[in-house]
């Protein structure tokens, strides 16, 4: 099975839309290989399953079929049906069963195919898993990871029930950690950190990013949870973004280089708990801030980030913070109106121009 086949998703073979040179996270000379985002997730799962026999996977069609996007492909052959478990279509029970197994010593990595379907599982995720440790006064812990594909993409239109970005549903709930990797490097490192973490971690995979490739170190490493990552340092303007939006931010940043405008890009790779410090200092340093998120505008993640800038960097602000977000709309099917539902590089460029010219 060749590389390209591994990268095929259930909804067609995808091609990355940006150059991987935009983000380099491996030092020159460090032993590394190029992996796609989805391969990076897969390798993290594989390595953790080898390292710790308590780690296992459960979800719909993750076994032979490899999941809707092929992320778990080959793992069933390697680890067998006990540790790579197909479940019935029962999202709430998948999440709840992960909790139960975690309570008795396992370290489950559950999958809900699309974050959209997690509306069925919010009770087990947000009311049970997130709160069990607290409600029992620390008698237990719930070390699981819940993988969900989110956002637009998948190469093709998937319309209103397969395209949402819902990180805020989870970020609003104390007790959960929420991560959203933007690169193969982060995808692997955050997955390893998530699996080793003793809390329930919501791991949001970006459909747009599955085919994106990048260098990933050969060595065992983690990307710590709870930190933002500065993907590019700059001094004139801060762009705060997460997931696929980081790439638009990076591309926009690159375009401003020639104009002598230095853009810092802060990747909110852990959405919650939020690393307020990094966002606050960057904003204080540059005094100009753009926020980018794929989720719907109203009550989306940019609200929190913007308020945070207000709290931590108000006196340094030289312009009002500008945000670039998904449209306040269900995601439509037709191209003509799907185009424009999510931010693109040009939107970020315009926003940077706006804060620079204030």
């Amino acid at each position: 099975m060749g590389k390209i086949e591994k990268d095929a998703t259930s909804l067609g073979t995808l091609k990355p839309t940006m150059s991987s040179d935009l983000i380099v996270q491996v030092k020159k000379g460090e032993p590394a290989q190029e992996l796609s985002y989805q391969e990076a997730i897969r390798e993290a799962l594989r390595e953790e399953m080898i390292r710790d026999e308590k780690v296992f996977l459960l979800g719909e069609d993750i076994a032979k079929h490899g999941g809707a996007f092929g992320v778990t492909r080959t793992l069933f052959d390697q680890f067998g049906p006990e540790r790579v478990r197909n479940t019935p279509i029962s999202e709430n029970t998948i999440a709840g069963a992960a909790t139960g197994a975690a309570l008795v010593g396992m370290r489950p990595v559950a999958e809900i195919m699309f974050v959209d379907f997690s509306g069925l599982a919010m009770d087990q995720i947000c009311n049970q898993a997130a709160k069990l440790r607290f409600m029992t006064g620390g008698q237990c812990k719930v070390p699981w990871v819940l993988r969900m594909a989110q956002g637009g993409g998948a190469g093709k239109s998937t319309a209103a029930q397969h395209s949402q970005s819902l990180e805020v549903w989870y970020a609003q709930i104390p007790g959960l950690k929420v991560v959203m990797p933007s690169t193969p490097y982060d995808a692997k490192g955050l997955m390893k950190a998530a699996i080793r973490d003793d809390n329930p971690v919501i791991y949001l995979e970006q459909k747009f990013l599955y085919p994106f490739r990048g260098l990933v170190p050969d060595k065992d490493y983690i990307v710590p949870l709870s930190k933002c990552d500065i993907k590019r340092t700059g001094s004139d303007v801060t762009v705060v973004a997460s997931g696929y939006m980081v790439w638009h931010a990076m591309k926009a940043a690159q375009q401003f280089e020639s104009e002598g405008i230095s853009v810092e890009v802060v990747d909110v790779c852990t959405i919650s708990p939020l690393d307020e410090e990094t966002i606050g200092s960057s904003a204080s340093k540059t005094g100009r801030v753009v926020l980018v998120a794929e989720a719907c505008r109203s009550y989306g993640p940019t609200g929190e980030w913007g308020m945070l800038v207000m709290e931590r960097a108000f006196e340094y602000l030289q312009a009002p913070v500008v945000r670039v977000t998904g449209r306040n709309s269900p995601v439509p099917f037709a191209d003509s109106i799907e185009n424009g539902v999510w931010p693109d590089t040009e939107d970020v460029v315009k926003a940077i121009e706006k804060v620079m010219s204030y």
């Binding site: 069609d61 079929h65 479940t87 509306g119 093709k156 239109s157 439509p332 099917f333 037709a334 191209d335």
Partner: protein
Amino acid sequence: MDIDKSTLLEMYRRMVRIREFELTATDLFKRGQVKGAIHTYLGQEASGVGICMALRKDDLIAGTHRSHGHNIAKGANPKKMFAEILGKETGYCKGRGGSMHIAAFETGSLGALAVVGAGIPIAVGAALGFKMQGQKRVAVPFTGDAGSNTGNWHEGVNMASSWDLPVVFALENNHYGVSTNIKYTTKIEDLSIRAQSYGIPGVRVDGFDVIAVYEAAVDAVERARSGKGPTLLVTESYRLDGHYAGEPQVYRTKEEVEEYWKKDPIPRFRKHLMSNNIASENDLDGIEKEIKKEMVEAVKFAKESPQPDPDTAFDYIYA
């Protein structure tokens, strides 16, 4: 049961229309002209048609991700369906929904809902609405075998049964949920047993046999319409294509699929119509030709139709 000739021929017509629609859609898909996935109904034509032909136009069906067939069975127009799956303003949903969300209220399809099980509570509510308004209408939510493992399914059947609502729960056992054979996710083989949990009749029929399906559906619909409450109707057939067009099917053998092609409901029904002198080979060929022409025209219509105007992007979010 005595079924009149025009009904039988209409059944045949709709089965063929579904078949041709799906083959045409698959062809368009493979040539990269359809965005998004399509989930075809190949092999299940007798199930949808047998059930929907037992319904009145003002009865309502609720669909799933795999509802091209349900819509056509209920009378939908292939033009507006192709337009929809190509994302055109002339589509049933004005290009907002696409293949997985085709609704056609004008023919009694309240919508294809792509979250497995989601149509059930909605159909139950529609039936409640019928009952409260004294309308003698029936609601039919379709679910797959795998869909019957969802919480929605249990809650919906229970609510409908405790209120004696006019619902026929159509459970189409095509033996797979994506890649997973139902035997791995459900311990029982005969899913109609589940009706007993709700004190309602459970009926299981050969889903390749449109007449058997139709007869069982007529009974269930009659029961619902007369206020006696819901029925669970399980049709046994097979998903002859992959989960979606182009899906590699690594989880089952070619032989298994070929075995099931032998049960193809369309030649079987064709034979029945001919051997019972209901229609001649010529008649049936005529229908097929007519439908093929319909498809060509429908695709042409869809292709020539405009996409939604970007200025209308915010339409229909709120009433």
